[in-house]
């Protein structure tokens, strides 16, 4: 504690000598102060203004953390002061915030949403700190020339704002020079009396007004600013996350063997080995068979597991197959003896009833029933029944008054029938004592080898599944999902959708389709715009192709090729299984050798990925194909499509082009299935007696202006004058030809021919033509005599992709929702910032005292 000067004075300066602070002003002379009678005042302050800038920030941060830790220690001991407790309250708030973020992190499913919980927490605290600095401190400094949030460090090293308490502002920390400089910025006249006091009062007033503004605005500003920060950070964080996930996924295949080594399969194989070794030389009971099968088939899909059972049944005969030996006969007799021993019969009586070993053996030998691998015991049962019946009949006739006769007959029936459904009768149990299959060393060795093969295989599949999940799973934030979002987000920019168009397009697909069509027609009509659009889309598609090339490009031989790794893993396991005579399981795993693999687990592993990618790519290829067809129509002068030849009436041409334009925008597979059901004009044949000129006109080419067809006939007739021309089978084919069969426009070709996806895009067009372009495509497999139908509803669905009007309807919905929110709160935030900043110009208004007039 510091010594009061008064006390020093009273005690004849002894206490002054004890005071030994090295911070005290060196030139302080107590006697001089006393002589001047100014002794009754506080000691000179050892506090100082804290200089804050970026250079000092790390040091300040470290200092604050150390202070907080000390404060925590003091508080636990009950020795903290008010300032320390205040700091700890802030620490508690951060701890609670961390608790919230951690909980919500655990509840969120995807990496981005998880990380955004902590970003949200950080942004909230950042907003709390940034808002007063941005909206008040900085403008106040620029307008008034001093820092309204200036901090000082007191004698005890506690940092506090200078203007925290307006009744106790440590003005002595500001030198006259500093105050006067601020006064100059505040335009305080230099010749007023008590200038320093006036400046101080003005500063106090400005600081107080700013503090009040802070309290009034922070409630609005902090959450809004936090939300805006999160909004702004989402895209870069997602991009970073996407890169990380991609690297993580690629790492799985690039370091495939290292990843395999991370798995410990010893526990599984050891447990299985122990099971086998414990049962060495023992018959394979039903229970043991199930344990072996269950162990081997763990992690396999049900089809492979079932095939594995078939193989195991061949290797280990079924549990209901038993060897019938002399020992079995002995056992049968013992069982019979035990069964009838519950009756009060003497040993002699019992011996008379139970057939002896010789007679049983003879009966079985005569019928050749003593053999191995018996799974059906009706003959054996009949012999025992016959022998017993004879014996009981003989006993009954010899002892007609024996009270056990009825009991004997009852026990006899009990011997043959079980007391519950599915349970063997006592006699049947007696036959099944020596299972046919024995677990010998060769079988055990073979089973151990199979176990190791399948365990390793499971590990590989697990890694491949993880890779496939990260890349293409039907889940948010996979590489494929991010690519979809990335491309579709940019599509609105490529098409230059305005806010109004977005607002209209979000209503329904019809509205979206109509706007989209206009945009595509405009783009297709203009060379420069079309070129830019194709370039932009091409760039995005190339990126998508690159990201997914390791997954779906057949024959790719790179180290991270999914196709190659899957093929190797499945084929290696299948080969090992075949060597162990597990052909059924091997075929289920990797397909029949040299034949189609479509019914195998390998195909499922590959096709899951291929289908997911195919669905996404088809949607974007459809867009490219659509703008290309619009371009071909817009540029009829460059080259007339083959289908629009001079044998087709103009009205049909107009109908065809209109329908194709619509179909590419909104068509589903069902539209193709019903061959584009459409009401058409009946005038497909020229009327009689037409002049040559009229005939030329009848077959004339359509007219196009600014990408739009100038229809001369279409839309001229009412709906009841139109009909579905089901006999015009060529119309469907021509439409398919126009959309997918004709060569792409030269401009499109020139711009994409060097792209990585070029060949795939051409294949896509061929595939659509081949899977949706003919009547045969829509027949069910095996329903069309003499034809092989390769097209399935799944393939057609995947090739069709997303209808463009629906795609843009959804995109516009998302965009609209984001913009509404952003406009609402961004606008409010901007308004609040503006008002807060402008308020500086109304602060610190004070009446300036009159200047001191010099006496002349």
């Amino acid at each position: 504690m510091r010594t009061n000067l008064i006390q020093s004075y009273l005690t004849n300066n002894s206490a002054v000598q004890q005071y030994n602070s090295d911070k005290i002003v060196k030139d302080f002379d107590v006697n001089k102060e006393l002589a001047n009678r100014t002794f009754i005042k506080p000691l000179p302050s050892n506090g100082k203004l804290v200089k804050k800038n970026l250079f000092y920030a790390p040091a300040e941060l470290f200092k604050d953390m150390r202070y907080d830790m000390k404060a925590l220690g003091h508080s636990i001991k009950g020795e903290a002061n008010d300032h320390e407790l205040g700091r700890l309250n802030d620490l508690g708030m951060k701890l609670g915030g961390l608790g919230i973020a951690t909980y919500l992190y655990a509840r969120k499913a995807t990496p981005l949403t998880k990380i955004m919980e902590f970003v949200g927490l950080g942004s909230f605290f950042a907003a709390m700190d940034i808002w007063p600095k941005l909206a008040l401190q900085l403008p106040a400094y620029l307008v008034h020339g001093f820092d309204i949030r200036q901090q000082y460090e007191d004698n005890y090293g506690r940092k506090k704002p200078v203007f925290l308490d307006h009744q106790f502002i440590p003005w002595d920390l500001y030198s006259d020079e500093e105050i006067n400089k601020i006064g100059d910025r505040l335009r305080v006249p230099k010749d007023i009396p008590n200038r320093r006091e006036f400046i101080q009062e003005k500063m106090r007033k400005i600081a107080l007004q700013n503090n009040t503004m802070w309290m009034l605005t922070a409630g609005f500003a902090t959450p809004i600013m936090s939300a805006l920060i999160c909004n702004a950070l989402t895209a870069p964080i997602q991009k970073h996350q996407d890169g990380q996930i991609n690297r993580q996924a690629e790492g799985l295949l690039v370091h495939f063997n290292d990843e395999i080594a991370k798995y410990d399969i010893s526990e599984r194989t050891t447990a299985f080995s122990k099971l086998l070794d414990d049962n060495l030389g023992k018959p394979v009971s039903g229970e043991l068979f199930e344990q072996i099968h269950s162990n081997l088939s763990r992690g396999l899909d049900p089809v492979v597991a079932t095939s594995l059972r078939t193989d195991l049944e061949n290797m280990l005969p079924p549990a209901d197959s038993f060897n019938f030996t002399n020992e079995t006969l002995e056992n049968v007799r013992n069982v019979l003896k035990e069964h009838f021993s519950t009756l009060p019969l003497s040993d002699e009586e019992l011996s008379a009833i139970i057939p002896d070993n010789d007679s049983i053996r003879k009966a079985f030998t005569d019928r050749n029933l003593i053999k191995d691998g018996v799974d059906e015991f009706s003959d054996h049962s009949k012999i025992i029944q016959g022998l017993l019946k004879d014996k009981i009949a003989a006993f009954t006739s010899a002892n007609p008054d024996n009270p056990n006769i009825s009991g004997l007959n009852f026990r006899f029936r009990q011997l043959l029938h079980s007391n519950a459904h599915g349970v063997d009768s006592p006699l049947a149990k007696a036959f099944k004592t020596s299972p046919a299959a024995i677990l010998n060393e060769n079988v055990i060795s073979s089973l151990k080898g199979i176990s190791e093969t399948l365990s390793n295989f499971n590990v590989k599949v697990d890694i491949l599944d993880r890779y496939a999940y990260l890349k293409v799973a039907q889940a948010p934030e996979t590489i494929l999902a991010n690519s979809w979002n990335d491309i579709s987000e940019d599509l609105l920019k490529f098409f230059n959708f305005t806010d109004k168009e977005i607002a209209r397009s979000r209503i329904d697909r019809e509205a979206a389709g109509s706007i989209l069509r206009q945009k595509i027609e405009n783009i297709a009509a203009d060379d420069k715009t079309y070129g830019e659009f194709v370039d932009n889309l091409s760039r995005k598609l190339s990126a998508l192709f690159e990201k997914t090339s390791s997954l779906d490009v057949a024959g790719d031989d790179t180290v991270n090729s999914y196709t190659k790794t899957v093929t190797t893993a499945y084929d290696t396991a299948a080969d090992s299984l075949r060597k162990a005579n597990m052909h059924s399981a091997a075929n289920a795993l990797a397909g029949f050798p040299g034949q189609s693999v479509e019914a195998s687990a390998k195909h499922i592993q590959l096709s899951f990925v291929n289908d997911r990618i195919s669905g996404v790519k088809s949607s974007f290829y459809r867009l490219l194909n659509t703008v290309d067809m619009y371009r071909r129509i817009a540029k009829l002068n460059d080259r007339v499509p083959n289908v629009l030849d001079d044998k087709m009436p103009r009205v049909a041409k107009e109908e065809l082009v209109e329908m194709c334009k619509l179909l590419l925008l909104d068509g589903h597979t069902s539209d193709y299935a019903e061959k584009f059901y459409a009401l058409r004009s009946l005038d497909i044949n020229p009327p009689e007696n037409l002049s040559p000129e009229q005939l030329r006109e009848f077959y004339s080419q359509i007219e196009v202006k600014d990408g739009k067809v100038i229809n001369r006939h279409l839309g001229q007739r009412s709906a009841d004058e139109l009909a579905e021309l089901s006999n015009d089978s060529g119309f469907f084919k021509k439409a398919m030809e126009l959309m997918y069969g004709e060569e792409i426009h030269t401009d499109t070709n020139a711009r994409i021919k060097n792209s990585a996806f070029y060949q795939e895009f051409l294949r896509y067009r061929d595939d659509v033509l081949n899977h949706l372009g003919y009547d045969d495509c829509f027949a069910k497999p095996h329903h069309l005599a003499g034809h092989y139908v390769d097209s399935s509803s799944e393939k057609r669905f995947l090739k069709m992709g997303c209808a463009l009007d629906e795609m843009f309807n959804k995109l516009c919905k998302q965009k609209f929702n984001n913009r509404v929110w952003l406009k609402m709160f961004g606008g409010f935030g901007a308004g609040l910032l503006g008002v807060t900043v402008l308020s500086q110009f109304f602060m610190g208004k004070m009446k300036v005292p009159e200047s001191v007039k010099e006496n002349k």
Binding site: G78, G92, L95, Y103, Q167, G219, P223, K813, N817
Partner: protein
């Protein structure tokens, strides 16, 4: 304080807080208040009203009488406005969305709003988990309020009411605890140290002490510091539990039928009933974890959060009750078995 006598000599200056308009709750001097529900509510309403009206008005004009108490009291303003804004951020744009998006956004928005509400409620209520055990065990009421009469500078020549009332707590500052407020008033027949006597007795310092106040003060201060720490940490952790509770799935049932239309008793009653059911189910889900949790952490994180809040509270209270500043008992000062020399 020194007033410009010349100006005010013929005016009736009020040196107490009894103005013509306000005379029911006035105090002539700093006065200790009872810590009960009525007082707390009255003080809370007074501070809340002034935080939104008088204090901002004084602050915006740069009044020379604005002080730190008013600044701190105004802290309620961003707290409440911030809560409302946070609710609005997640809900107010929903009406512009399509039906499906509106529905999906409303579920999250409602949970967020409920989270804000629960944050405030649990943060406030959970303080009792520290205060009550501490008071029961030590007899020290760390939240004991008193009314402070504050003398201000006149704002202008016509400002005759120069007093204002501030509501503080005796233990608000550990550096400047208002010990004087704890002394009894002999004029009212109270023993000077009767409050200190009670605390001394409760903490085993003995009875009929000559200077119980001197013996109790170190203990009182220690309890203030430690309970403050416990309250700060535990209340924010319970607030976090409140947010987590609001994010449980069972609340969605309540959101579907929630209504505040109390003038429709049937619907309002049903809404309350479902609220209760959702609360119980949500608490269970928070503790047991969601059924679709994939990892151990996802399954048990709710348990850990509740455990952390409860653990911090218990540790905080135990630390508070572990008083180290007790003076030695008188018979321990001198060991009678040893020879002592007093000079």
């Amino acid at each position: 304080m020194i007033l410009p006598v010349g100006k005010y000599i013929d005016k009736k200056i009020s040196f107490n807080s009894k103005s013509e308009d306000e005379n029911k709750l006035a105090y002539d001097k700093d006065t200790l208040l009872k810590n009960n529900f009525v007082t707390r509510t009255r003080i809370g309403m007074n501070k809340l009203t002034k935080a939104f009206t008088e204090y901002p008005a004084k602050g915006l004009v740069g009044s020379k009488n604005s002080n730190f108490y008013e600044f701190l009291t105004m802290g309620t303003v961003p707290y409440l406005i911030g809560s409302a804004t946070l609710m609005a951020i997640f809900n107010s744009a929903n009406k512009y969305y399509g039906a499906f998006e509106k529905n999906k956004a409303a579920v999250l928005g409602n949970k967020m709003a409920l989270g804000v509400l629960f944050y405030g409620i649990l943060k406030s209520v959970s303080k009792s988990l520290t205060d009550i055990p501490v008071q029961l065990a030590t007899g020290i009421d760390t939240q004991l309020p008193y009314a402070k009469v504050n003398y201000e500078l006149p704002e202008g020549p016509d400002d005759y009411d120069i007093t204002s009332i501030e509501y503080h707590k005796v233990g608000e500052s550990v550096d400047f605890t208002r010990w004087d407020q704890l002394y009894g008033d002999p004029q009212k027949g109270e023993k000077v140290n009767f409050r200190y006597d009670k605390i001394a007795k409760k903490n085993g310092l003995g009875e009929n002490l000559n200077d119980s106040d001197q013996e109790v003060k170190p203990i009182y201060k220690e309890v203030l510091v430690k309970s403050n720490l416990a309250r700060s940490f535990s209340s924010y952790m319970w607030a976090a539990v409140g947010v987590a509770l609001a994010f449980q799935k069972p609340w969605e049932e309540y959101f579907r039928i929630a209504t505040l239309k109390f003038w429709k008793p049937k619907e309002f009653g049903h809404s309350l009933k479902v609220f209760g059911r959702s609360f119980v189910d949500s608490a269970k889900e928070l503790y047991k974890g969601p059924a679709d949790a994939l990892t151990h952490f996802e399954k048990h994180v709710g348990k850990y959060l509740i455990g952390a809040a409860a653990g911090i509270t218990v540790l905080g209270v135990l630390n508070t009750l572990h008083i180290t500043k007790k003076p030695p008992k008188h018979n321990e000062v001198l060991d009678k078995n040893k020879e002592s020399v007093v000079s």
